[in-house]
Symmetry: C2
DNA sequence: CCAATAGTGTCTATTAGACATTATGCT
DNA sequence: AGCATAATGTCTAATAGACACTATTGG
């Protein structure tokens, strides 16, 4: 079917009123999730190996179609629960991808979401959904312009990505880097109690840089987001660090 | 029709492979555009008065459905051209709105776009599409959290907004404020040649604050985005300002 | 010369980076 | 006591705001 719009003589008429959308073919609507955590100080995303055509053998983000009675957020939560077995993690909408041939089978528009997984949630997902693989994500650029990312298997082999999922991963890393130091997303990658060093490690891993320790501590403590728990980390052979909790706003 | 997903026993299976999406009802997919410019130093958005049910008498963003052979960007450009009669302005995807009852007639998921109109483009749209009204947008909040916005008619009356378009407008203002001082979007609201005072006026109008003149000049000139044209503004009864052009990156 | 705005110099306050020093828990 | 890392003090560099001052045009 060709373009479904009627010819319309004037531009000021109201679109919805003269258009019967049930009569025309609609794109399918899906969600794709970037399940992102940190493994050994590096960003890692959970991917599935495609067994079927198209892109068989390539690696894909978990996703699913949006039901007619499902909000976009609900569809994303459904995928999170049904395909990764987890709940209660940070989830935000990223961007909507609508290239015509992003899926060769049919027209699918996909709303991409970013989920941030603390280490425990990432481990839980890997356990409950054994076909998921934590792929290391290399981000060989900095700044606002973005660029390509590379997915690596645990052994360090490059994993070819299915569909436009490399673009989605790149968008996820760009968004995360952009929000990291003015928002509280960094805490979504940490357990409930954490040390300032762990927080700095998260920022360094996401940004791919090293940060100045005193300046980082000052900034974080001045934000008013950190509540001391009064206890210290255990099991070190040296001075144990203070444990903090994340305290939203104030 | 109820939830269209099959019951699936395991979480690791691939969704697309076992699902026939053509067999299930799909949400309709639309785009809605925030056509934003400045009028008398205030943000203004182009709205249409709805004549038909639902939300008759309320004011709506221009929008249209996404054709099966149309990318999202193409659908947004189509609306820009067909409903506002303009081309060549800054256009970016904002966010995708998918609440179940956002349109009472049927399930419509809408990808919102933000278009930034210099004064000439805004005037052109008002001329070519006489049913469009430039509504002043009041943004009674600051900071990253966002909040409600109010649309005002040229006479200052509050315009009730249709559907979830108040949310879309709020998201547009939040996005624009957030990007304004680290990106080059501010230039999208200016003509090709402009003075530093005009640039500062744009920033002040969008942010809803006043800014320090020397500091603003320093920052903008240090960015390397401003190329002097060598000419000055005309028609003033006082010292005329230098005219600059926007020079992307460097 | 005056009015009005463009454009700049300079001081201060704030914030970030560099680097060294002190503090502390464990063995 | 000594090790390893936590936590902090302090100097310097960079950046932003305040405010006054100079520059330039038309009338």
């Amino acid at each position: 079917m060709q373009n479904a719009y009627k010819a319309r003589p004037v531009i000021e008429t109201e679109f919805l009123a003269e258009y019967d959308p049930t009569a025309y073919e609609r794109p399918a609507l899906a969600v794709d999730l970037v399940l992102l955590g940190l493994r050994e100080g590096r960003p890692a995303a959970l991917l599935l190996k495609r067994e079927q055509h198209p892109h068989a053998g390539r690696w894909a983000l978990p996703g699913g179609f949006v039901g007619i009675d499902q909000t976009l957020d609900a569809a994303a939560l459904h995928v999170l629960h049904e395909k990764a077995g987890i709940t209660g993690v940070h989830l935000e909408q990223l961007y909507t991808f609508g290239a015509l041939a992003r899926d060769p089978r049919m027209r699918i528009v996909s709303v991409a979401y970013l989920a941030l997984l603390p280490e425990a949630a990432l481990a839980e997902a890997l356990e409950r959904a054994p076909s998921l693989v934590a792929a290391g994500i290399e981000v060989p650029w900095s700044g606002e312009a973005g660029g390509d990312v590379v997915a690596l298997s645990p052994k360090g082999e490059v994993l070819p990505l299915a569909f436009d999922h490399a673009d989605i991963l790149a968008m996820a890393m760009l968004r995360l880097r952009g929000k990291l130091d003015y928002s509280d997303v960094g805490f979504a990658l940490l357990p409930e109690h954490f040390t300032l060093r762990q927080l700095q490690d998260v920022h360094e891993a996401v940004l791919g840089t090293t940060l100045n320790k005193p300046a980082f501590r000052r900034r974080m403590l001045d934000r008013g987001w950190l509540a001391p728990t009064g206890s210290r980390e255990a099991g070190t052979s040296f001075r144990p660090a203070e444990l903090y909790r994340f305290q939203p706003s104030r």
